[in-house]
């Protein structure tokens, strides 16, 4: 699975993109966030407050309880602030 990070999520993890294969038990985006938090101190810091995180699966915004299914690209980021 291709993972993308933006804004302070990216900064805390130290990279904007990585390839990871989460275990079977990781069913939805919220599970993925919890699992990512175990990977490194940077990941832990980035995933510390899931209520401050938003996500997109294959470039569509989704709620955090969305099943990953056969997602190829999952992005995790703070609420958007463009415009």
């Amino acid at each position: 699975m291709d993972l993308l990070y933006f804004a302070w999520v990216r900064e805390r993890i130290g990279t904007g993109a990585e390839r990871r294969d989460p275990p079977e038990a990781v069913r939805n985006v919220a599970d993925l966030i919890d699992w990512l938090a175990t990977l490194s101190p940077g990941h832990a810091e980035a995933m510390r407050e899931p209520e401050r995180l938003r996500a997109a699966i294959d470039q569509k915004f989704v709620p955090l309880d969305t099943l990953l299914g056969d997602a190829r690209e999952v992005a995790i980021f703070p609420p958007v602030t463009g415009g």
Partner: protein
């Protein structure tokens, strides 16, 4: 006509408006967001999600084109580093009548704020911080549902 652009070059407002006016519309409405320096901001950096951003803007433009029978929509968002006075975003709409152009323009900037993957980082002297999303933006976007 839909024109969407995400670019780190300055936004050329005159060029964008001229292209909209050439649609033969009677009414052209625009919104331009400009970097403000009044609260000590010395630089503003815009990050986005390449690949997703353009599609998100095109999807918004398509909805607006249909909902207000527009003749043209232009959405240009700058990314990268900007300074006070620089244009961040330009929205332009062309329609036969003013009501459609004005409403669609307001719709597009409201929705861009919540539906497009951009993130702002403000620098004040040596300190940089990511801008927090505002609840008022979600409210403004919601009024179009």
């Amino acid at each position: 006509m839909i024109r969407v652009s995400i670019d780190d070059a300055p936004i050329e407002l005159g060029v964008e408006v001229a292209a909209l006016e050439e649609r033969g519309a009677g009414a052209v409405a625009t919104f331009t967001g400009v970097v403000r320096g009044d609260d000590g901001v010395t630089a503003l950096e815009l990050e986005h999600y390449p690949g997703m951003t353009e599609g998100a803007l095109i999807a918004l433009a398509e909805v607006a084109m249909q909902r207000w029978s527009l003749l043209g929509v232009t959405m240009v968002h700058r990314v990268g580093v900007m300074v006070p006075g620089d244009r961040i975003v330009f929205i332009g709409t062309a329609a036969e009548h003013r009501r459609e152009a004005l409403e669609a323009c307001a719709y597009l900037i409201d929705r861009l704020k919540t539906d497009a993957p951009f993130w702002k980082r403000e620098t004040r002297g040596d300190a940089a911080r990511w801008v927090e999303a505002r609840e008022s933006d979600a409210d403004a976007a919601g009024r179009w549902d």
